[in-house]
Symmetry: D2
Amino acid sequence: MIIIMRPDHDEEDLRRIVNRLEDLGLRTHLSRGEHRTIVGAIGDEQVLREMPLESLPGVERVVPILKPYKLVSREFRQEDTVIDVQGQKIGGNQIQMIAGPCAVEGREVVEEIARELVPWGVKFLRGGAFKPRTSPYSFQGFGEKGLKILAAVREQTGMLVVTELMDPRDAVLVCKYADIVQIGTRNMQNFRLLTEVGNIDKPVILKRGMSATIKEFLMSAEYICSEGNQNVILCERGIRTFETETRNTLDISAIPLLKQLTHLPVIVDPSHAVGRADLVPAVARAAIAAGADGLIVEVHVRPEESWSDGPQSLRPPAFGVMMGELRQVAAAVGRTL
Amino acid sequence: MIIIMRPDHDEEDLRRIVNRLEDLGLRTHLSRGEHRTIVGAIGDEQVLREMPLESLPGVERVVPILKPYKLVSREFRQEDTVIDVQGQKIGGNQIQMIAGPCAVEGREVVEEIARELVPWGVKFLRGGAFKPRTSPYSFQGFGEKGLKILAAVREQTGMLVVTELMDPRDAVLVCKYADIVQIGTRNMQNFRLLTEVGNIDKPVILKRGMSATIKEFLMSAEYICSEGNQNVILCERGIRTFETETRNTLDISAIPLLKQLTHLPVIVDPSHAVGRADLVPAVARAAIAAGADGLIVEVHVRPEESWSDGPQSLRPPAFGVMMGELRQVAAAVGRTL
Amino acid sequence: MIIIMRPDHDEEDLRRIVNRLEDLGLRTHLSRGEHRTIVGAIGDEQVLREMPLESLPGVERVVPILKPYKLVSREFRQEDTVIDVQGQKIGGNQIQMIAGPCAVEGREVVEEIARELVPWGVKFLRGGAFKPRTSPYSFQGFGEKGLKILAAVREQTGMLVVTELMDPRDAVLVCKYADIVQIGTRNMQNFRLLTEVGNIDKPVILKRGMSATIKEFLMSAEYICSEGNQNVILCERGIRTFETETRNTLDISAIPLLKQLTHLPVIVDPSHAVGRADLVPAVARAAIAAGADGLIVEVHVRPEESWSDGPQSLRPPAFGVMMGELRQVAAAVGRTL
Amino acid sequence: MIIIMRPDHDEEDLRRIVNRLEDLGLRTHLSRGEHRTIVGAIGDEQVLREMPLESLPGVERVVPILKPYKLVSREFRQEDTVIDVQGQKIGGNQIQMIAGPCAVEGREVVEEIARELVPWGVKFLRGGAFKPRTSPYSFQGFGEKGLKILAAVREQTGMLVVTELMDPRDAVLVCKYADIVQIGTRNMQNFRLLTEVGNIDKPVILKRGMSATIKEFLMSAEYICSEGNQNVILCERGIRTFETETRNTLDISAIPLLKQLTHLPVIVDPSHAVGRADLVPAVARAAIAAGADGLIVEVHVRPEESWSDGPQSLRPPAFGVMMGELRQVAAAVGRTL
């Protein structure tokens, strides 16, 4: 931690800070420049994070030196984390596709969709049984009935189930049916829910909050890991910006940046990022080219009848065309799909 | 709902849409212009909100006509809602101050702070017993012990207690001690928590999500009201923008805008908006001048020792100076404080 | 300047940096912590700003200590700058109103508007003769003919003229007629234009770019001052955010923040900030309460016939009501209007 | 144009609007729904764009039906525009690389850089002779001397010259040396400069403003085309968001979206988008995968000595590795590089 003093500070201000730091077991290091005096605090930065040093008289600014996350950082673990989900690997050379409808709308339709995905080698089926909806008057999901449908389709097709958990009270229930538990963008800083999934034995997809910085995103992953669950998959899904032509703006540079900062796998949700089916394939290709370990894509046999997110769902023929393109791009970057 | 057709649509596309709308019990209205054909759907727009009409062939764009919220809207209720909290009114001519530390850090310090607030006529004491913290390694609040401290200080001073609820599982516990339950910015779209507080008999302060639009903010209030709890107080607390000099950017125009769109009271949190104690008074004055019904402000006797949000906490003397200024501004806009 | 080294740097990296800094006449200061080694550079930070130290091997991050602007800073000049415009002061205790139509649309209409403003004590008339318009097909202003109309109305009413300069080639022409030259939001980083107005002898209103940080805003003011023209008036006019209900989001905290960082006067344009006449008065009151030295407001006798920005123009009766309110708020903060 | 009336409008309001529209030669179309009355205006929407219909009593909202740009739109011209620059095509199957230093810093260094680029088949050399710099104290470019260096290197290597124009007064000078004229992000809405380059006979690279919407970006291109210069190349270079880890956020979906809305070529500047050399290759691959027609990349032989933008400049070896990767990705999407 570096403490930059105001030009008008006095010696008493300085002594107070030095004493405070030394009481905390840190060594200090003074540097008096022409315009500013700087105090360096040497030792465990973590004990300082909680201290509002900016509130002390004479302090202009406090600059942390270290990153605030540990377990999820590359410094902590150099090699890529590869997560094994019932034998399927996420984070390795193989790029994984997670596809399916936004919400579970009924057994037949989910089966119909799954049947279209299996021939393309898709191993993970997505579908929401609990749906976070902006309006209280919108369809909120089938709950356990939806989870049972997903399990039945898994039985039938061998696909693994990815589904969202919205409420800590449903954790046991959702884990009973899910192979991967998803935490949605609106819950990225629902810290109680993060703590809860830190204590389950299922891998977790953590979606980036729509206005979360990369640092906050990694801190939320740290919440889960610090409880004991190291199987966290980060998902970039678009951030909120001033542009309104697309639902969100996919932060494509987040992929190589996260790969540098953390050992965790990084996947991308192009469907929520753009909110329009016609733009999904181009953005999906970009995500693979940038180094994503997987994609989570909304697919529906009849988007015009779907109960949520229809406009961003691909129809199976468009999904097939996209898969062909993605395989080319994956090969170009030395990976398989 | 207005459906704008693509220039290359065909008659079959048009017939499909008209049929779909008429099946839903809506009347339709065709207007063929030089460049575009437009279909107006007349009737209950709500049935259409769930329908992904954009996914139908030939459709360029769908424009809703009505606002998506009902119970919270001025059209639903013309007069201002005034909420009675144990005899204190929020939303009337009297502007209410809610003040106190970020977190409950111990009985003595809360008492000490409260004693500084009472002489200024502050009726509401804020303090978090459950704290949403970006880092899992930060102080997470004292939980029930914190709630008991707040209750004890209420006993002593007569101040009413405002405290945050983060987890639906704590709703009964928090309601046992709180006079007003607060939903934090990170939980504005934690829909399960909204549903939960829609079923309690305490007023709720709903903080705007840091990247929530006004429409989304009102939809979250609608969640609470639609469950039966009409006592919702909206709180503007700054939105996330590109500017980094301040923690967030207070959306000052949200105050008159919300007052126009909804009958609910609107308060402002200048402390979280700016994140720096020195800027709080100016922004607080602005909020009152723009029509806020109250303020929620962080005050601490020793910010440099506080366990969270120290840099944005006012010391009692600065709070006192600010109160003097705010009373002048309140009088200038015809209100009391 | 502080240089934070990567954990994997070697001694050669360190020596290279130290040598580079010492070659530039700076002293260096090493601090080896547990996790990071830090190099402090002591001396004139300006020589380092141009050096891409981040590109040197072994460097993790470079942290500047000083602010990049000088002439405009409070450190450079402690007392408030008060600008005298033909006897009218901007930046003193008196709050100044600048009002008028968006564009000069003809002599009669400008006269008609000015006649409505004079009785309220408004001393400055705004009106664009050169109009920056998003579309090439929109009205681009009357050019010199417009300037002549403004001058004629000044002759008639005694009001001083505020008008925009868009092109360095028009500087002489605009200065011939204007009392204050305005630089629009889209030209805040048109550095050639800034240099141009740095060499004129008229005060300049510099509008904040719609996505400019406070630091960039002040750097643009520094451009003008560094050329010799110290009469710069900063104008906050709303920044671009994700919110779409208002045209922009007024950054209310920019007012006290700028007042702290710079000695220059700060005014506010509530009309462009919100883009809707109905919200202008509340935001104008807030600006005064927060400490603004003046307002620039669009007023039109018949907004529904105006050629640009009609929806955000106040009609004279609404302007009058607002003036009454603003005087109350100005008095409440110890100023006159 | 669709005009949505307020629920409380009266017949007089409605008649006034209908008369106004009919006076303008438009036909009107009334639709009275349960909750709202809607007026459709049929005819040339352009005449209405200038009319502030929202200011008329009784109007709630005005919804335009058509896009505000014409010449640049796909509706105007279906096939892709391919621009011929001295025999090199931009916008065709061949993806073009534009590379070089941020600023022209001297003849030797530009030559040295160019010599590294030629073997990779790079046909376009970038380099600024006029530099828009945030600080007045930063290097502002060599002006004509810089242009002459670029021309000399073209002579020597056959590479074509891409350089920025900042001031309409320099248009003739810059055109004398440049093969493509660049308009920078801060000048995207410098309408006088746009008008100027609309009248030159050189192709123009128009960089997206850092907070410009796609619509505004296309309107600025329309400015140039409407003056007669159809050879406009659009350049996505990152937009300003809340994220601070990268300099800007590349809007990857802008590529397929622009390809859909306009016939103009679309290139990408990954260097300014991310601001860090280490992230440039991944983002460059993504841009090609998403359909970009070219890239503009900063390359420097000694970034640590460059006078501007060092941290985002690739060294030649890293550029070479990237070129190899980009060729694979280009082939994967059916293009050559």
